[in-house]
């Protein structure tokens, strides 16, 4: 289905990971929450379970390469964060430079549905990067030619 593409960024002590994701959206305005769906077998799942925090960077159209590089290899095999232009937010979340927006979230509720976990999280802080504000979202349909 047509949807936006983002990077799920998690940092748990010395371990960190970046995972390409398109299963995310808003939950509610009060409380101000969003959801992400993560496969139970993924490395990010393990890290979120450990810390209860994650960041979501919504990608712009010119970040296709970052989406591909973080979506084709497991974080257990490779430190994907090393190749990304990341910085730490005031509340200590990993944020991505050049993303349309990076949002730090704290998990409020987890719901297991088959092999996925639905993480419902409070939105703690968001950074907007104006360098790419003129670009649209990177969409799943932009990968049609791959």
């Amino acid at each position: 289905m047509e949807s936006a593409v983002g990077l799920l960024l998690v940092e748990a002590g010395p371990r960190s990971n970046a995972m390409t994701i398109s299963c995310f959206s808003e939950v509610a305005h009060h409380p101000t929450t969003l959801w992400v769906s993560v496969a139970k077998t993924s490395y990010s799942h393990e890290l979120i379970k450990e810390t209860g925090r994650f960041s979501l960077a919504v990608l712009s159209l010119n970040q296709k390469i970052a989406a591909i590089s973080c979506g084709t290899v497991s974080g257990r095999q490779q430190d994907k964060c090393a190749s990304l232009d990341l910085y730490s937010s005031p509340a200590g979340f990993l944020f991505l430079r050049g993303a349309l927006a990076s949002t730090g979230c704290r998990v409020r509720q987890t719901i297991d549905i088959d092999d996925q976990t639905l993480f419902i999280a409070d939105i703690v802080e968001t950074d907007l990067d104006t360098r790419n504000a003129h670009l649209r979202h990177l969409l799943l349909s932009d990968f049609r030619d791959l």
Partner: protein, 592 residues
């Protein structure tokens, strides 16, 4: 540059736009959304988060199925219109002119969508002011005709109905790329530093709701089904010859005038009791012939229909006589003075297979039609109050001053029009309270002024002030106040006024002016006024009312406003009289 986000919309998680559709209780429900996404690939599941105050939420809950209609970028205007439509508006598809289909999935869907995802709900998750629906995908159907088109994005619809969308987008891009936007923001923040960001609080303040607030909002229902009547489009012009006899030589003159204007195909006859007056009227309006006494008129084979401009107490007798002779009838409002008479008239017409229509010009008044459409489209948000102020100096005499013949005073005479207006604009009232000031015209047996307060369980109220003994001055006769704007309807003019709550450009400019004394001097309520011209020149609706009657007779069909509508108006008027007599809030019978 990096700026802190202040609301949930700054997270940019709202991306692809679509319309969620589901079967509603009576008709399909629709809701715009930019926060749906797939949850898992195998099995394919999606999640949507409908707002709990929108009717789509109970519709999905009841139907257990819904469709996500992903919109192509070319449907930007449709999405903007849908986002603007009143939240509690029933029949949103009709308001937007959308045609929905339904197939074996038993889910209404949009054929012009880029993709339609048919879903069945598996579980719901309580999540504050929204509810999450996790659903299994039954089928994902791509529209091959437009499969190369990009989906519509949320950022493309947030600017609203700007007619210079492309220009604004280009200007924004230039400002962003040149760094000018950052510079402006920096200067503004230096001059007036913003408070520390608090996404949860700011989002809640702008669009969130607590459980208590949700309960308050939903107290009046997610859907406002109180409105049963809709103003019709202008009727067709009569193309075939018809013999019409106007009965009554007083108000009947106006009937003759409008019949003459309505169509050149009308063969006009007049009928009265007074030979001199009747002959004079026939001559004045160029009638083909005239009749003395109704019996003569109904017996004449040249006459197919009658318009009755008679004292109210004679309506029943006249209609029964006409229908017995197989003639159609247009009767002046009110339909009668009692419900028993109204029922007898409706029954007589039904038995004879003839058309009976009540002359209610409010039903055809162009300003009412336009205002009603604006309410549906969401221009004033939820309508809250209707104020009607009508009357003027008038001293009724003869039968019009006698209760037995007139049925009452100013309420039954003028109030009946505004009750129809209320029904067309807001809906059916559930109760009425009536009070009145002292009687000035002691020659009248009934009230020469009255005020009424109508209430609806749907959450709106209406106040009517009707008087024949005080001057109305330069005021609109109907004001409809809503949460997002107010409409002023003026009698007898070719326009109406719209005052949006959101400041218009001139108000925004003036509100920035300094010094303050200059701003105060220039900042007038009329700056917010948007005057809307009416294309229909028949500002009262009398002409269209006459044309509709002629069209109904010529086409042998029920008029767009059948006599039952007039009976209902009378029922509400009589409830008003009951409230006036008892000084108590009086229930009005609910329609089935």
């Amino acid at each position: 540059m990096i700026w802190p986000g202040r609301t949930i919309w700054d997270t940019r998680v709202q991306s692809v736009c679509g319309i969620i559709s589901a079967r509603g209780e009576k008709e399909p429900e629709l809701s715009g959304s930019a926060s749906f996404a797939q949850f898992s690939l195998s099995p394919l599941r999606v999640i949507i988060n409908p707002n709990r105050t929108y009717p789509i939420e109970p519709a999905i809950q009841q139907a257990g199925r819904f469709a996500i209609n992903v919109l192509p970028a070319s449907e930007r205007k449709l999405m903007i219109k849908l986002m603007k439509v009143r939240r509690r508006q029933p029949g949103k598809a009709n308001v937007l002119g959308l045609r929905l289909s339904e197939d074996e999935h038993r889910i209404p869907f949009l054929e012009q969508a880029l993709r339609t995802v048919f879903c069945e709900v598996e579980r719901t998750i309580e999540a504050g002011d929204r509810k999450l629906y996790v659903a299994r995908v039954l089928e994902s159907r791509i529209n091959s005709g437009i499969s190369n088109e990009r989906p519509l994005l949320f950022e493309e619809v947030t600017s609203g109905e700007s007619s210079f969308f492309a220009l604004r987008q280009t200007a924004r891009q230039i400002l962003i790329r040149s760094g000018a936007l950052d510079l402006i923001k920096k200067l503004r923040y230096r001059r007036r530093p913003p408070p520390a960001p608090n996404i949860a609080r700011t989002t809640y303040e702008q669009a969130g709701a607590t459980e208590e607030e949700l309960a308050t909002i939903l107290k009046y229902g997610a859907l406002d089904s109180s409105r049963r009547l809709s103003p019709p489009p202008p009727p067709a012009i009569l193309r075939k010859e018809l013999g019409i006899c106007v009965v009554g030589t007083g108000w009947g003159y106006l009937h003759c005038r409008y019949l003459r204007q309505a169509s050149p195909k009308v063969r006009l006859f007049v009928c009265g009791r007074n030979p001199e007056k009747t002959a004079h009227l026939a001559h004045a309006v160029g009638a083909e012939a005239y009749f003395i006494g109704l019996e003569q008129a109904v017996d004449d084979p040249r006459v197919q229909a009658l318009t009755l401009a008679l004292p109210h107490d004679l309506h029943r007798q006249a209609v029964e006589l006409a229908t017995a002779a197989g003639k159609h009838a247009l009767v002046e409002k009110p339909i009668a003075t009692t419900l028993a008479d109204a029922d007898a008239m409706i029954w007589a017409a039904k038995r004879a297979g003839t058309i009976l229509m009540v002359a209610e010009d409010m039903h055809f008044r162009p300003a009412v039609r336009e205002a009603s459409q604006r309410i549906e489209r969401g221009d004033i948000g939820e309508p809250l109050y209707l104020l009607a102020h009508a009357g003027g100096i008038r001293r009724p005499s003869g039968w019009a001053a006698e209760k037995a013949r007139m049925g009452g005073g100013v309420l039954i005479d003028i109030g009946v029009h505004y009750i129809r207006g209320l029904r067309l604009l807001l809906g059916e009232p559930d109760s009425v309270l009536a009070t009145r000031a002292m009687q000035i015209n002691t020659r009248m047996s009934e009230e020469d002024s009255v005020q009424l307060l109508f209430s609806s369980r749907a959450g709106w109220e209406a106040h009517m002030l009707l008087s024949w003994v005080s001057q109305r001055g330069h005021l609109p006769d109907i004001v409809i106040a809503g949460e997002k704007g107010t409409l002023h309807l003026w009698p007898g003019v070719h326009y109406f006024d719209y005052y949006p709550v959101a400041p218009v450009l001139t108000t925004r400019i003036v509100s920035q002016l300094r010094p303050y004394w200059l701003q105060e001097k220039l900042l007038r309520p009329t700056l917010q006024r948007i005057r809307i011209k009416l294309r229909d020149r028949d500002v009262t609706g009398y002409l269209r009312e006459m044309q509709e009657f002629l069209a109904a007779v010529a086409e042998q069909r029920e008029p767009v406003t059948p006599a039952a509508d007039g009976r209902r108006d009378l029922e509400i008027v009589l409830a008003g009289y009951e409230a006036l007599a008892s000084s108590r809030q009086t229930e009005i019978r609910a329609l089935d």
